[in-house]
Symmetry: C2
Amino acid sequence: MRTLGYAVLSLLSREDLSGYDLKRWMERPLGYFWSAKHSQIYPELARLEDEGFVTHRVVEQQGKPDKKVFAITAEGREALKAWVTEPPVGRAPRDELILKAYSMWLAEPGAAAVLFEEQGRLHEEQLRHYKATEAWMEENWGGSPEKMDFDDFASYAALRRGIGYERDYAEWCRWVAAGLKERLSG
Amino acid sequence: MRTLGYAVLSLLSREDLSGYDLKRWMERPLGYFWSAKHSQIYPELARLEDEGFVTHRVVEQQGKPDKKVFAITAEGREALKAWVTEPPVGRAPRDELILKAYSMWLAEPGAAAVLFEEQGRLHEEQLRHYKATEAWMEENWGGSPEKMDFDDFASYAALRRGIGYERDYAEWCRWVAAGLKERLSG
DNA sequence: TGTACCATGTAATTGGTTACATGATTAC
DNA sequence: GTAATCATGTAACCAATTACATGGTACA
């Protein structure tokens, strides 16, 4: 099975959704660590249905087009459950900015510093976004992770990874920019 | 141009290399943030040569097959330099383990804890590996980043990102595993 | 009148992995 | 002998992005 299939099942295991809804969930919150365009989601849903992991019903709406609402089946839930505790396949991380850092010695230090400051700001912005979500989560669910429902804890854990990632990334960008600036003046 | 093309040029800007050598450099150090199989590297080199960014000469060896050693051209270096300070195209990070974390509420907490402890160990191992390289770098080049040559600083910066990433990832794995264990006993 | 949102799909292309293919040398 | 390393390529397949395609409603 494709990882995208499990990503779709992950969302459907919490809530019934249309292809359009899935596309939006893959932009915001889950999309921060797995995303897909609608052109990939619609065929994936058809495939999951062929395989018996999801079913759909057509929901008529007023003032809006009809939609297909998908629901996970018992088989889908079983497949997802089995996948969760399997070790992930080690895929190579691909980060273009680190590649640029590796070759930055070819560039003007000033121009490179601008890039890293700019990228640092983007990661800080994303961090603020995550932290706002974290605050909302802590307010709404128990405050401490132990008191949360298990599914809420799972969402919270994923978010925590995002926070750590962005915080550390932003800090690295600032560190690189500072190092570049020293090469400019001193 | 393809990012892989720039990854290849990044390496060739420091040293002339054969396709085989490039494959190995894409496994270890640069491969930690950009990697490729040899089946992707050989066609890429042919394409870069078509485009005028690299040239090659055949080097005869004793006891080993002949090899094609590639060198970056002035045009290649220019293209690489221009690319370095361009903002990277925002590609979605894909992390299967975070996706699993998001769905871990479906699994047995014990089985999930085993997964996250295991993954934490892998990231700690990678971190130790990076730190050994860092120690080697600091010993060989000036000790402080300001005293390094610019190209060494660039390598060091890329490594620093790897260290931050692995440290933070390992810590997150331990935190998730601890949270899961609390759900087991308490 | 134009833009954004809702809603769903297909087609073409690119990027990447796995598998197929060959052949010599060195070390165990 | 047999596995590992050196060395280079092609072919088939899968995953993902971009582009093509349609059409109604709400709102400014």
